[in-house]
């Protein structure tokens, strides 16, 4: 039986493995952490339906357990070609094809020093908010309830200053989702989203945005915050331009949430160099073709699924998993 190795046990890796197994391949998932699920393990509820992320990860994990797919945890892939995958401890796994599902890297908000992440209290990232929601406790550093909250879109995306020109696609939707969640927890608070463009690309997203405006009275201000500074009473003062009125604007808030972007996986360049693959200018893996072979690499026997090739939503990532099984079948026959 032909053997396919799937690198990465996030949702892309799990769905790819399940679809490949269904087509009769012998499949091994190699995951560097100690559990399957990838980034989704850190998210609380998924936009736009507010479905608990565990519903997706637990279901996929159960299907993997029932499927007979071999899972190798705590196993980091350091290099590969179409016939071998090499692990950090030197072990080589033989195979007939490889599907790279190593996902993305989160932007480190400390790099945008002007927003004070890691410097001032009560500056959080969207990832921190998901963690707090998971713990069931969102609060200020002093344990208090925020009365005014600002979200800032495009942190680490669409920004030459940090070498990230691309749009991370999911952060606008995440920002609107989290703004609603904050209003549900703190109905008395005023919530402001500072955005550059609002990108609501999927079904139900625009509707959620409208609900955030009309039902939750969330204020959307078009303009990028230029800096955050602490006030004498321990709050944060923000400056931006309200570009729709053409006037500078200042506001102090109790909590600032930075919507961090998805950047390309740190390993991509190394993998590309070793295996003869192409990276896009954004650093994400470049598929062989944008339309007809968007899960194939330029190298026979090496395939992609999920956020390793671009920022994607959960639904898109899962579709990649099914598509890659079709492509691998075409290659291995």
């Amino acid at each position: 039986m032909k053997h396919v190795v799937v690198i990465g046990g996030g949702i892309a890796g799990m769905q790819s493995a399940l679809s490949l197994k269904k087509r009769g391949f012998d499949v091994t998932v190699v995951e560097k952490s100690n559990r399957l699920g990838g980034k989704l393990l850190n998210w609380h509820c998924l936009f736009p339906s507010f479905t608990p992320a565990t519903e997706v990860t637990d279901t996929l994990k159960q299907r993997i357990a029932d499927s007979g797919v071999e899972v190798r945890l705590n196993a980091e892939v350091v290099e590969f070609d179409r016939h071998h995958v090499v692990l950090a401890d030197g072990e080589r796994i033989e195979c007939d094809a490889v599907v790279l599902c190593s996902g993305f890297t989160l932007f480190d908000a400390r790099i945008k020093e002007e927003y004070g992440y890691g410097i001032y209290d009560n500056v959080y990232t969207s990832v921190d908010i998901e963690a707090m929601l998971n713990k069931g406790r969102v609060e200020l550093k002093n344990g208090g309830r925020p009365r005014r909250i600002a979200f800032l879109h495009c942190v680490g995306s669409r920004d030459e200053k940090v070498c990230q020109r691309h749009c991370s696609k999911v952060c606008c939707v995440t920002g609107v989702k989290q703004a609603i969640e904050m209003k549900q927890l703190f109905p008395e608070a005023d919530v402001f989203n500072f955005y550059m463009d609002i990108r609501m690309f999927g079904p139900g997203y625009e509707e959620m945005y409208r609900e955030a405006q009309q039902k939750y009275n969330i204020h959307f201000v078009r303009g990028r915050i230029s800096e955050a500074a602490p006030t004498i009473d321990g709050r944060l003062q923000l400056k931006a331009e309200d570009t729709l009125t053409g006037r500078p604007l200042k506001i102090s808030v109790d909590m600032l949430v930075l919507l961090v972007g998805m950047r390309s996986n740190d390993d991509n360049a190394r993998f590309a160099e070793h295996s003869g693959l192409q990276c896009a200018p954004s650093g994400f893996m470049a598929p062989a073709d944008m339309f007809l072979s968007n899960v194939a690499s330029g190298v026979g026997g090496i395939f992609y699924a999920g956020a390793v090739t671009a920022p994607k939503s959960v639904g898109e990532v899962l579709n990649d998993g099914a598509a890659v099984a079709e492509a691998v079948t075409g290659y291995l026959g």
Binding site: Q214, R222, L244, R247, P248
Partner: protein, 111 residues
């Protein structure tokens, strides 16, 4: 002795200061017409507006400023509207724009 005009003056800051603006009126306006918060700033209203084509009047900008607590001059600006309703035919978010004009005039007559 007549005051000497040195030619200097102090500009009022142009910054919208959310902390010091009184947002009570704008909250009231949004509570009465929550749909106004749905504006996506597309400008179709202003593009179609005859008053806006002939004067400085900009319906989108005036109601955006009102939502930020900037009321000064809003009443006078809204008086330029002829209530023709063209903007309402265009607004992609279905905002009752003429209703907004009337509401702002009713709430902000004193500013």
């Amino acid at each position: 002795m007549a005051a000497i005009d040195w030619g200097f003056s102090i500009n009022r800051p142009r910054t919208i200061d959310i902390d010091n603006n009184n947002l009570r009126k704008s909250d009231e306006i949004l509570r009465e017409m929550p749909e106004l918060q749905c504006c996506i700033g597309c400008g179709a209203c202003t593009a179609s507006c005859t008053a806006g084509n002939l004067t400085e009047f900009n319906f989108r900008k005036v109601h955006t400023l009102v939502r930020r607590g900037e009321y000064q001059g809003a009443y006078e600006e809204m008086n330029k509207c002829m209530l023709c309703g063209k903007c309402r035919l265009l607004c992609p978010r279905g905002i009752n724009t003429r209703g907004v004009v009337m509401l702002i005039k009713r709430k902000l007559g004193d500013f």
